[in-house]
């Protein structure tokens, strides 16, 4: 199936305007909660600066901290695996499952496993994973990818959830009561937790000096999964590393406030060593990260702590929905991470922005997201991933604007004004004119007025 480009998918999303308004309002509400929480902390901007610097330092000393982390984790009795890419990551997880001959597997939210396509891979091997984050379970039932990294089912309304649960959990048809539906999910998931043999989690922060790691959830599902299962696999991108436990005091204060406006995530679970009789594995994944680290203009994108504040504030994301980004990580951060993974497939994403800069302003680790979007555009054009009609038009425009007399001629000759402002064509096929009137052409340009009135 051909993936739709962002603009096309967004247009489809917007064609249901009331739903778009609802999506926009819902996420704006989250952004407002974030504003309230962050404006309530006088030291907010200082915390962002610290977080950014700690990440900067960690990314410049990855060799040292990752090795230190591995050593300490091993000493704690944890098995550490290294995966160069998504395939290797999936293979490692599969091998552990095979070796232990387990069937009942639960997973709390991990964007990394989405990025690696782990569920699909394991499914193809006959192994089904139960996602235990409520939102993720909902989209899993529907065979859809998450549309938001913190709120995976934010594109769905109560009625959609009710229909889905009716189909999969046999809840009452038409009962849209959130409490009723949540209760049904709770009972369903409890059974899965109790029966689980293996639990997969993500990692929010991995601490080099202790070899421990922290997983943040609001539902406690990471804990319930890992407490019942005899095997715990934690999957992490290598950029999750921080040097010391004390640095958590910066990140944990920023993460939940940025994500949902909560002072702290409901559960910040610290994992250090396996329980007696339990196996604990950590899979450390590269999957394009070292390549991104080598791109001077884009390496900062690896500071991301996946709070999704940039999604919630993005006026384009709020009106186009996560699926229009056709990648595991949508939104502004996805648009600067994804071209690194596949330039051709994701060449549309850095253009899915007005460069308004709100993303960079909310980002708790101060990633210059909108500047990177701009820089990706230059790279994508240079590498030839931009379609030729755009190219011819803009090159023609550049030529015209470099030659003042031609520019003036184009402006005068009404017909050729299209060369200069190609979007100002008065016909229905023109995207400007579809829903907007053109500016009324004045009788003279400013320059003409100036020559007449100011210079004699």
């Amino acid at each position: 199936m051909k993936t739709m480009k962002h603009a096309e998918a967004a247009a489809q999303f917007i064609s249901d305007e009331p739903r778009t308004d609802w999506h926009n309002e819902t996420l704006w509400f989250v952004r407002q909660k974030r504003d309230k929480a962050s404006h309530g902390l006088p030291e907010w901007e200082q915390l962002r600066e610290w977080a950014s610097q700690i990440k900067h330092h960690s990314l410049s000393h990855l060799d040292q901290y990752l090795v230190e982390f591995e050593k300490n984790a091993k000493a704690n009795g944890v098995t550490v695996h290294w995966a160069a890419n998504g395939e290797e990551h999936n293979r490692i997880v599969y091998d552990i499952i095979q070796k232990n001959n387990v069937q009942r597997i639960v997973k709390s939210k991990s964007m990394l496993t989405e990025e690696c396509g782990m569920n699909e891979f394991l499914h193809s091997k006959g192994i089904d994973i139960v996602d235990t984050d409520l939102g993720e379970r909902i989209v899993q039932f529907r065979n859809e990818p998450p549309s938001h990294i913190v709120l995976p089912a934010i594109h769905l309304k109560k009625k959609d959830v009710s229909d889905t649960f009716h189909e999969h959990l046999h809840t009452e048809k038409g009962n849209n009561d959130p409490q009723y539906l949540t209760e049904a999910a709770r009972i369903h998931l409890r059974e899965k937790f109790i029966a689980s043999e293996l639990a997969i989690t993500g990692v929010n922060f991995a601490i080099a000096e202790t070899g421990g790691f922290v997983v943040c959830t609001n539902e406690g599902n990471a804990d319930m999964g890992t407490h019942c299962a005899k095997i715990h696999i934690a999957c992490m991108g290598f950029e999750k590393i921080i040097p010391k436990a004390e640095h958590l005091s910066v990140f944990l204060r920023l993460l939940a406030r940025s994500a949902t406006g909560q002072p702290i995530t409901t559960y910040s679970s610290h994992f250090q060593k396996p329980r007696e009789g339990q196996q604990m594995h950590i899979v450390i994944v590269d999957n394009g990260r070292s390549k991104q680290l080598g791109r001077a203009d884009f390496r900062n994108s690896l500071k991301c702590i996946r709070c999704a504040a940039c999604f919630n504030t993005c006026p384009v994301y709020r009106r186009s929905g996560g699926h229009s980004y056709h990648t595991a990580v949508a939104g502004p951060i996805g648009s600067i991470l994804s071209p690194n993974l596949d330039m051709r497939a994701n060449a549309d994403l850095p253009f899915a922005s007005t460069l308004c800069g709100s993303c960079s302003n909310v980002c708790p680790v101060k990633i210059d997201i909108h500047d990177q979007l701009w820089k990706w555009r230059q790279v994508l054009v240079a590498e030839g991933y931009v379609d030729t009609t755009k190219k011819v038009g803009l090159k023609g425009m550049a030529f015209l604007l470099a030659h003042p007399s031609l520019y003036r001629f184009a402006g005068k000759a009404g017909r050729t004004v299209m060369r200069l402002f190609p979007w100002l064509v008065n016909n229905k096929l023109n995207p400007w004119y579809k829903q907007r009137e053109m500016p009324a052409p004045p009788k003279e340009s400013f320059r003409e007025w100036y020559l007449k009135n100011k210079q004699s």
């Binding site: 460069l355 800069g357 030659h403 003042p404 009137e437 320059r447």
Partner: protein, 255 residues
């Protein structure tokens, strides 16, 4: 009328009129020029200027805008200040103007180019204006001027509040100012975004307009004509009574 002769009378100002203002909104250029002259600046308009190069660069073609850059430097070297009524064009020059043959002159321009309201506030340090505009006006805070040039504080940041354009509008007699509910959300213009992402662009514009309309405004104003052109296009299609007007026109008006 000049109340008292200011001491910046000798300041040589190069007037930068972005291409789409030159071609479609000459009245904005005229208002900017008259306003600066009223305030005692010696203003000239270099006749061979075209464009700042932003439309190309924001579409990924920064490397193709070298000729445009050179032309800009050729036109605007030798001025004490360069002033233009457009936040995003000014920001583009500030961030990206390059000329390998004349790097010093390019740098001088980058450092001394100002958006109009910024120039009035920070350089001329205007405290009062002889202007009157007895209407209900909504301020559209365009992103590049705000988040790029810091013309006003930003809702995302935890920093003291201020607004240069608002301060100036406060000096206009009879003007009743309002803000949309989301004080600084983008209008969706975004350069070529407005055509390549038509659906999102228009939806964003409609949403901005709805918030201003809820305040009962007669005019939507701002310091970026490109955003206003986009909003105006939607307003006209909707047959709305609300009009878009550049802040220079208000600051220069004497009704």
């Amino acid at each position: 009328m000049i109340h008292s002769l200011p001491n910046y009378i000798d300041m040589k100002v190069g007037l930068f009129i972005p291409c789409y203002i030159d071609q479609f909104y000459p009245q904005v250029g005229i208002a900017t020029l008259q306003l600066l002259e009223k305030l005692g600046c010696e203003v000239s308009f270099p006749l061979n200027q075209t464009c700042c190069g932003q439309p190309m660069a924001n579409s990924g073609f920064a490397s193709s805008s070298k000729g445009c850059d050179k032309n800009f430097v050729g036109n605007f070297r030798g001025f004490d200040y360069i002033v233009g009524p457009s936040g995003s064009c000014v920001l583009h020059i500030k961030d990206h103007l390059k000329d390998d043959d004349r790097p010093g002159e390019a740098e001088h321009i980058r450092k001394n180019i100002y958006e109009l309201t910024e120039f009035l506030t920070d350089v001329l340090k205007i405290e009062k204006l002889d202007a009157s505009f007895p209407h209900k006006v909504g301020l559209h805070t365009s992103c590049h001027g705000q988040r790029g040039l810091h013309l006003s504080s930003m809702s995302e940041r935890n920093l003291p509040e201020f607004s240069k354009p608002e301060k100036l509008l406060g000096m206009v007699k009879g003007l009743e100012l309002s803000h949309p509910a989301r004080t600084d959300e983008c209008c969706g213009f975004g350069g070529t975004f407005c055509v390549f992402e038509e659906a999102v662009s228009v939806k964003m514009g409609k949403d901005r307009i709805a918030e201003h309309a809820a305040n009962g405004v007669e005019y939507i104003t701002g310091y970026d004509e490109s955003c206003l052109m986009h909003l105006e296009g939607i307003l006209k299609r909707m047959n709305s009574n609300i009009k878009a007007i550049h802040i220079a026109e208000i600051l220069n008006s004497n009704a």
